[in-house]
């Protein structure tokens, strides 16, 4: 096939344009996060301005953003761990059970996956207040695990289906119980699927704003919920702290993309290409 120079140029230009558009918001936010307010939002816009760490200092030290960071760490680690433990058991069972109950469970899970999270909030408010667990880490973690479950069991099931059932059936013949077969035979070979599913559980918990901002108060908030008060920022200092916070929240995600690009892409195409 003859090389079409014009077409190649158009393709590269188009892809470059997308890269610029995709990264511009966060790149520009990162640039202005190292500036004073007057340099960050000035007319005309400045492309070079004095460098300062002040916004980060104010945010992380004076506003104790490290506490929100620790909250996020605690909540995401617990959510991912519980989600995967509970989800692996269910996903494994769904991949091996042939009855129609499994099918209906998957259908219900699909409906649950589509539920807008704010629909659950009025009940959470009322019920959690009644039993006195509103504004606790535990209630937020359990809520995040539950809303994660539909997606987690679908994804893990699709990985377990690909592990030949002869493996665990052989173990059953050798006298293992179902659970022993799962623990000794399946767990050692399931890690690729678990890592991929875990990444998406992590993203859901880490990126959640709606539930975390509604169910916890300031000192227990995760990072995304904590910078929300810069949404309507009246004061310039608060706004600049929000800018620094936005960049701080994004850095771990960029590291995640660099480290786990293959798993993320694999996970995204998993459900689609197979059916």
């Amino acid at each position: 096939m003859k090389k079409n120079i014009t077409l190649q140029t158009v393709v590269y230009a188009g892809l470059a344009l997308w890269l610029i558009l995709a990264s511009l918001p966060i790149v520009w936010t990162a640039v202005i996060s190292f500036r004073q307010y007057i340099d960050a939002f000035s007319s005309p816009v400045k492309f070079w301005a004095p460098f300062t760490f002040e916004n980060y200092e104010r945010l992380w030290i004076d506003r104790a953003f490290y506490r929100n960071f620790l909250n996020t760490a605690l909540i995401t680690v617990c959510t991912v761990t519980i989600s995967l433990t509970v989800g692996c058991l269910a996903g494994y069972a769904l991949s091996r059970y042939r009855g129609s109950l499994g099918f209906w469970l998957l259908m219900v899970a699909l409906v649950f996956r589509a539920i807008p999270h704010s629909s659950l909030l009025p009940s959470f408010f009322t019920l959690f207040d009644a039993i006195g667990i509103r504004n606790t880490y535990l209630s937020l973690i359990l809520v995040l695990v539950a809303i994660n479950q539909p997606f987690t069991i679908w994804m893990l099931r699709s990985f377990f289906v690909n592990i030949p059932s002869e493996l665990d059936e052989a173990a059953l013949v050798d006298g293992c119980s179902r659970f022993q077969a799962f623990r000794r035979v399946i767990i050692p070979v399931m890690w690729p699927g678990v890592v991929t599913t875990g990444l998406f559980s992590f993203l859901l918990a880490y990126n959640d704003f709606l539930l975390s901002s509604a169910l916890t108060s300031t000192e227990k908030m995760t990072m995304p919920a904590a910078i929300a008060n810069s949404i309507s920022a009246e004061s310039e200092a608060l706004l600049m702290q929000g800018v620094a916070g936005a960049v701080s929240i994004t850095i771990p995600l960029i590291i995640l993309i660099v480290l786990f690009q293959k798993q993320i892409v694999g996970g995204l195409t998993q459900g689609a290409v197979k059916g």
Binding site: W28, A93, R113, P116, S118, L120, L121, F209, I254, Q261
Partner: protein, 330 residues
């Protein structure tokens, strides 16, 4: 696997979903028909004012033995649904002028949610397809890096992404400055049309990477024989795309559309960040706003139930598709 073992294995997951999703949904339905008020009592208090001490009548909530405020709940039927939908309630025979009906908040929220969903959809699919076709053309060494970088809008925390876009477009931000150089002056956050446009731009920007990656994966399995046969038969580049590649991608395009409709229906972060509900609302935002700002869980429940009815209607095609596939796969 035996039914007994199946039930044991799924028990923890099902329990969590029953307790924290199914039960709250049923409870929401109950809450939406209730109205609770604090049980107030009027007490006389002695207050000292600059004009001397005097008896003042104040109201305070009655408390139970444990010191919690007592709430009096009433069954109000569909009253809150009527409020959210803007149907006037109250005595039908009134001597005074008929009271103007409250605005139909839910219809307004639903309208924008659907506009958002269906205007972003063609752009998401179109740009996703163009990127997938483009990446298919470039040298292998660049592919990995490009895919990684283009994932960013999809992975990034939605509230952070919406804030970044807001800062980019706010007064004295980068984009208004660049536009003013070519003579365009828009105060993006100050007008309804521009605020809505920004929300839609956010929606396209956020959803394109997923469509791109799924379609790119789909392109890898286009049968090469058919493409070559078409070339030999004299098909142009466009004809090969139209008659070989696109039919092959059709199931994926259907799949992406269904997922997009489901996810776009839940749009929330760009609404709260970019307009704070000033010009426009989404159905999720409406529930959140009534709950946290109006502080009324009963009215919020009514909005939530209406939201759920909406998503169930939108879900029907996806459920039918999945039902057929799962049944057919057995």
């Amino acid at each position: 696997m035996k039914l007994k073992h199946f039930l044991q294995f799924v028990a923890p997951s099902v329990t969590l979903m029953l307790l924290l999703m199914a039960a709250p949904l049923v409870f929401t339905l109950y809450l939406s028909t209730q109205n609770c008020v604090l049980d107030l009592e009027t007490v006389t208090e002695l207050q000292s004012t600059p004009f001397g001490t005097q008896d003042v009548l104040t109201q305070r909530a009655r408390t139970d033995a444990r010191g919690n405020a007592i709430q009096l709940c009433d069954y109000v039927g569909l009253d809150y649904y009527k409020k959210v939908l803007g149907i006037a309630t109250g005595p039908s025979v009134s001597l005074a002028k008929p009271v103007a009906a409250p605005p139909n908040e839910f219809a307004a929220a639903l309208k924008f949610t659907l506009i958002y969903t269906f205007t972003t959809l063609p752009f998401v699919l179109g740009i996703g397809l163009l990127l997938a076709l483009g990446v298919n053309q470039i040298t292998a060494r660049l592919k990995g890096a490009f895919i990684a970088a283009s994932l960013l809008p999809f992975i990034i925390t939605p509230v952070v992404a919406a804030l970044s876009i807001k800062w980019l477009f706010r007064d004295n931000g980068l984009v208004p400055y660049l536009l003013s150089n070519v003579g365009i002056q828009v105060f993006w956050m100050a007008e309804a049309w521009s605020a809505r446009l920004l929300i839609i731009v956010y929606g396209v920007w956020h959803s394109v990477p997923f469509a791109f990656i799924v379609l790119y994966a789909g392109l890898q399995s286009v049968p090469q024989d058919s493409l070559e046969a078409a070339t030999i038969d004299g098909a142009s580049r466009w004809q090969r795309l139209r008659f070989v590649t696109l039919p092959h991608l059709a199931p994926l395009i259907v799949f992406l559309s269904l997922i997009h409709v489901m996810d776009a229906y839940r749009v929330f972060e760009p609404i709260i960040v970019l307009t704070q509900g000033a010009f426009t609302m989404s159905v999720q935002y409406l529930t959140y706003f009534i709950l946290l700002q109006e502080n009324n869980p009963y009215k919020a429940s009514a909005a939530a139930v209406l939201t759920l009815i909406g998503i169930l209607i939108l879900l029907i095609p996806l459920l039918i598709k999945t039902y057929r596939e799962q049944r057919g796969g057995r």
